[in-house]
C-alpha cells in the first residue's frame, strides 16, 4: 500500500514534468494537424474569412491536377539520392575506417557540407554548375564533351543536378554514422572470418554489410523521410523551376499555400505527402525483417 501510493505520487509528478512539452506538442503539432485535416474539406484561402465546405472537391482536384503528377515524378527522382548517398557513404566509411593517411582531415572534409548552411551550399553549387562558365562544364568541355548539360538551367537535368547536391550534402552525415557502426564490429568476428579463409570482398559483403544493416535501415528510413520533406535546398537553388521541373511535393505544398494562399488545397496535398511518408515507412518496417540483422 505504501509502495503503491509512492508510485502514484511519482506518477503525477512525472506528468507535471512533461506537461509543458505535451502542451507544446498539442498546441503546435496535434491541433494544427487536425486543423489542416479539417481544412482539406474546405476552400479556405489564407486571410480570407469567407469559406465553405466543399466536401471531396479538393481530393478530386488533386487527382485531376497535372502538376500533382509531375511533382510526384520529381519527388521520386529526388528520393533516388538517398540510396545512392548511402552506398557512397558506406564505401567512403570503409576506406576511412582503415589506416589511410590524413584520416582525420578527410573525415572532417566529408563532414563539412553537413554543418554548412543550406543557402551557402546552394550558392556554391550554382557557381559550379553554371552552364557556360562554371568549372564543371569547363572540365567537361576540356575532356571533349561539346555540349555539356545545362544542369540547373535545363528542365530535363535540373532535378538530377539537385540530386547531386543532395548526395554530396548528406554524404558526411551518413559516413560518420557508418564509421561508428564499423567500429562497433568486433575484431574477433573479422579475425575468425579471415582465419576461415574469407577474402576481402567476402568479408565486406558477407560480414560487414549485414552487421551494419541496422544502421543502413536507420539511415535509409530517416533519409527518405527527410528528403521527401526537405525543400529549402531546392527553394534556394531553383525555386521549383525552370518551368516547374524541380517542384517536388513539398515545394508544391509551399507554393499552393504561401504563394496562392489556397490553404484547403495545400492541406490536401500535404496529407497526401503524409500518406506517402507513412507508406514508405510501413514498407520498410515490414521489409526490414528480411535484410536487417540485429
Amino acid at each position: 500500500m505504501k509502495r503503491n501510493s509512492w508510485i502514484r505520487k511519482q506518477g503525477w509528478v512525472g506528468y507535471i514534468f512533461i506537461l509543458p512539452n505535451m502542451l507544446g506538442i498539442l498546441a503546435f503539432f496535434i491541433l494544427p494537424a487536425l486543423y489542416s485535416f479539417f481544412m482539406m474539406f474546405t476552400d479556405y484561402q489564407f486571410a480570407n474569412p469567407n469559406w465553405t465546405f466543399t466536401g471531396l472537391d479538393n481530393i478530386q482536384r488533386l487527382f485531376g491536377d497535372d502538376q500533382f503528377y509531375a511533382s510526384i515524378k520529381y519527388t521520386i527522382i529526388f528520393l533516388m539520392s538517398v540510396p545512392v548517398s548511402l552506398a557512397i557513404a558506406f564505401l567512403v566509411a570503409l576506406v576511412l575506417n582503415r589506416s589511410v593517411y590524413l584520416k582525420g582531415l578527410l573525415r572532417g572534409m566529408f563532414f563539412l557540407p553537413y554543418i554548412s548552411s543550406g543557402v551557402a551550399v546552394a550558392f556554391v553549387w550554382m557557381l559550379l554548375f553554371q552552364p557556360s562558365q562554371g568549372p564543371i562544364n569547363e572540365v567537361l568541355r576540356f575532356i571533349g564533351i561539346v555540349s555539356p548539360p545545362g544542369w540547373f538551367a535545363d528542365s530535363s537535368s535540373a532535378m538530377y543536378a539537385i540530386d547531386v547536391v543532395q548526395i554530396w550534402f548528406m554524404l558526411g552525415y551518413n559516413m560518420i554514422i557508418y564509421l561508428a557502426a564499423l567500429q562497433e564490429i568486433s575484431t574477433e568476428q573479422l579475425e575468425a572470418a579471415r582465419i576461415d579463409g574469407a577474402g576481402k570482398a567476402t568479408i565486406t559483403w558477407r560480414i560487414v554489410w549485414p552487421l551494419v544493416s541496422p544502421t543502413t535501415f536507420m539511415l535509409l528510413i530517416t533519409g527518405l523521410i527527410m528528403t521527401v520533406k526537405s525543400f529549402s535546398l531546392i527553394q534556394a537553388i531553383t525555386g521549383g523551376g525552370p518551368s516547374g521541373s524541380t517542384t517536388i511535393l513539398s515545394l508544391f505544398v509551399y507554393k499552393t499555400a504561401f504563394s496562392y494562399y489556397e490553404m484547403g488545397y495545400a492541406s490536401t496535398i500535404s496529407w497526401f505527402l503524409f500518406a506517402v511518408i507513412l507508406v514508405i515507412t510501413i514498407i520498410q518496417w515490414v521489409g526490414q525483417k528480411r535484410w536487417v540483422h540485429y
Binding site: A47, P49, P131, P242, Y260
Partner: protein, 435 residues
C-alpha cells in the same frame, strides 16, 4: 490528499495559463475602438509596413512626420516584397498585430487583402479625392469600383541605355515608338565580347506581352483566353532569336539559374541596354557602390509591331498605400496617408519613387532624383521617357495563371517546346482560371 489535488490543479492551471497567454496577447482589445482614443491627448503609435529598405527614403519620410506630429508617431517596418514577406504582412494584418498602414505593390496582393477585409474602404472618406489628386491612372487600382488605398507613386518600366556604347556604335537614342525589331537590331549592333546588347530584369521580362494583352484584352470577344495571340508569338520569337541566334541577350536558363544581377551588370558596363523599372535609380544614383562614368539615356519598352494599336506601357501608378480596416487608429493613419501621398513621400524620390499626387511639384521631385548625378543622365530622353505620359495599365490576371504562363514560356526559352505549343498551352492553362 485533498491538499495534493488542489496543488495539482493549481500547477496545471498556472502552466496552461502561462502557455496560452503568450499566444493571445495581441487580440484582447477589440478593433471597434475606432477614433475614440484619439481625443485622449496621448501619443498614438502607428506602424507602416513597406518594402523599400528604410535607409532608401522611408526613414527620412517618417522622421520628418514624427517631428511635425508629436501626437502621432509612426514606425516603419520593412517587409520584403516576395512570397514569404507578403505572408508575414498578411499574417500580421489578420492576427491584428500592429500594421496600421501598409503598401501594396500588385493588384493581386491588394485583391487578397480586400477579400480578407483588412484594407479600409475609402469611399467613406470624403476629404480626399483620389481621382482628382492622382489622375486617371489611379482608377486602375479600383476594386469593385472602390478605392482601398491611395496609389502614391509613378510606376515606370523602360529601357536603360548606356549612352557611351550607343555613341560608339553610332546609334541615336531610339524614338519613343520603336518596335522589338528595332530593339533587336540595336542589341545586335551593341553586342561585343563581354557585353550583352540587352538584359532584361525579371520585372520587365513580360512588360511587352503584358502591355499587348492590356490593349487587346485578356480574353477574346468570346470570353476565351487571349494568351495565344499572334503579337505574343512574334515578341517571344524575337527574344528567343536574340538569345540563340544573335546571342545579344543572355540565354534564359543561364540568367535564371545563375541569378544574374542585371542592374549591377548594366552599371558595370556589361550590358548596353537594360529593361527594368525606376527602382534601378536607387543603385544608379549611388556612385559610391556602383561607380560608372557613362551617361544613361532612356527608351520606352518597344511595341511588338509598328502598326500595333492600343499597346500599353507597364507602369501607371504604384505603391498603393492602404489603411488597415482593423486598425484602432484609422483616423490618424488616414491623416498620415494623405500627408504621405501629397508630398510627404518626397524624400523617396531620390531612389526613383516619384510622387503621383498633383500637389507635388514635379520639378522638386526630379531635382531630388538627380541631385548630385545630373551629369549622369541624358536630359532629353529622360524628360520624354521617364517623365513622359504614356497609356498604361495594371495587370489583373490571377497569380496562378501568370505562373502557369511563365512555366510555358520558360519551356520555350529552354528549347523544350516550340512556340506554337507554348502559346496553345498558355491559353489552355489560363482558361482554367477564367470563370
Amino acid at each position: 490528499m485533498k491538499y495534493r489535488n488542489w496543488l495539482k490543479a493549481a500547477l496545471i492551471t498556472t502552466l496552461t495559463a502561462s502557455m496560452l497567454s503568450a499566444c493571445g496577447g495581441a487580440n484582447n482589445e477589440g478593433a471597434s475602438a475606432g477614433s475614440a482614443n484619439q481625443n485622449a491627448g496621448e501619443t498614438i503609435n502607428l506602424t507602416l509596413w513597406g518594402a523599400v529598405p528604410a535607409e532608401a527614403g522611408p526613414q527620412e519620410v517618417i522622421d520628418s512626420w514624427n517631428k511635425e506630429n508629436p501626437d502621432i508617431q509612426v514606425e516603419y517596418f520593412r517587409y520584403v516584397n516576395d512570397d514569404p514577406g507578403n505572408l508575414k504582412l498578411d499574417t500580421a494584418l489578420m492576427t491584428g498585430q500592429d500594421a496600421d498602414l501598409f503598401v501594396n505593390y500588385t493588384l493581386n496582393r491588394l485583391q487578397k487583402r480586400v477579400d480578407a477585409g483588412v484594407a479600409l474602404d475609402l469611399s467613406s472618406r470624403t476629404d480626399y479625392n483620389i481621382d482628382e489628386q492622382m489622375g486617371v491612372d489611379a482608377a486602375q487600382w479600383k476594386i469593385g469600383d472602390k478605392y482601398y488605398g491611395i496609389p502614391t507613386k509613378k510606376n515606370m518600366l523602360f529601357i536603360w541605355l548606356n549612352k557611351s556604347m550607343l555613341d560608339e556604335a553610332g546609334l541615336p537614342i531610339p524614338p519613343v515608338d520603336w518596335t522589338w525589331d528595332d530593339l533587336r537590331e540595336y542589341a545586335k549592333a551593341l553586342t561585343k565580347s563581354n557585353v550583352y546588347g540587352l538584359m532584361q530584369h525579371d520585372a520587365a521580362f513580360t512588360a511587352a506581352i503584358d502591355g499587348t494583352i492590356a490593349g487587346l484584352g485578356v480574353t477574346t470577344a468570346e470570353g476565351t483566353s487571349n494568351f495565344n495571340n499572334d503579337l505574343w508569338k512574334k515578341q517571344l520569337q524575337i527574344v528567343h532569336d536574340m538569345m540563340f541566334v544573335d546571342k545579344s541577350t543572355p540565354e534564359y536558363g543561364e540568367q535564371v539559374t545563375s541569378k544574374m544581377p542585371v542592374d549591377t551588370m548594366f552599371l558595370k558596363g556589361e550590358a548596353a541596354m537594360l529593361a527594368a523599372g525606376e527602382f534601378i535609380f536607387r543603385n544608379a544614383n549611388n556612385l559610391k557602390d556602383f561607380p560608372h562614368d557613362f551617361k544613361i539615356a532612356f527608351a520606352t519598352i518597344p511595341k511588338v509591331s509598328a502598326d500595333q494599336k492600343d499597346y500599353k506601357y507597364a507602369g501607371g501608378l504604384g505603391d498603393m498605400l492602404s489603411v488597415n480596416a482593423k486598425s484602432k487608429h484609422q483616423d490618424a493613419a488616414w491623416k498620415f496617408a494623405k500627408w504621405y501621398a501629397d508630398g510627404g513621400m518626397l524624400p523617396m524620390a531620390s531612389g526613383g519613387r516619384l510622387p503621383s499626387s498633383k500637389s507635388v511639384d514635379n520639378k522638386q521631385a526630379m531635382d531630388l532624383l538627380l541631385k548630385g548625378v545630373e551629369d549622369k543622365y541624358d536630359t532629353e530622353s529622360m524628360n520624354s521617357v521617364v517623365f513622359g505620359e504614356f497609356p498604361s495599365f495594371q495587370l489583373n490576371v490571377p497569380q496562378q495563371a501568370l505562373d502557369a504562363r511563365k512555366e510555358e514560356y520558360e519551356k520555350y526559352f529552354l528549347n523544350e517546346q516550340d512556340i506554337d505549343t507554348t502559346l496553345k498551352n498558355m491559353a489552355k492553362r489560363h482558361q482554367e482560371y477564367i470563370k
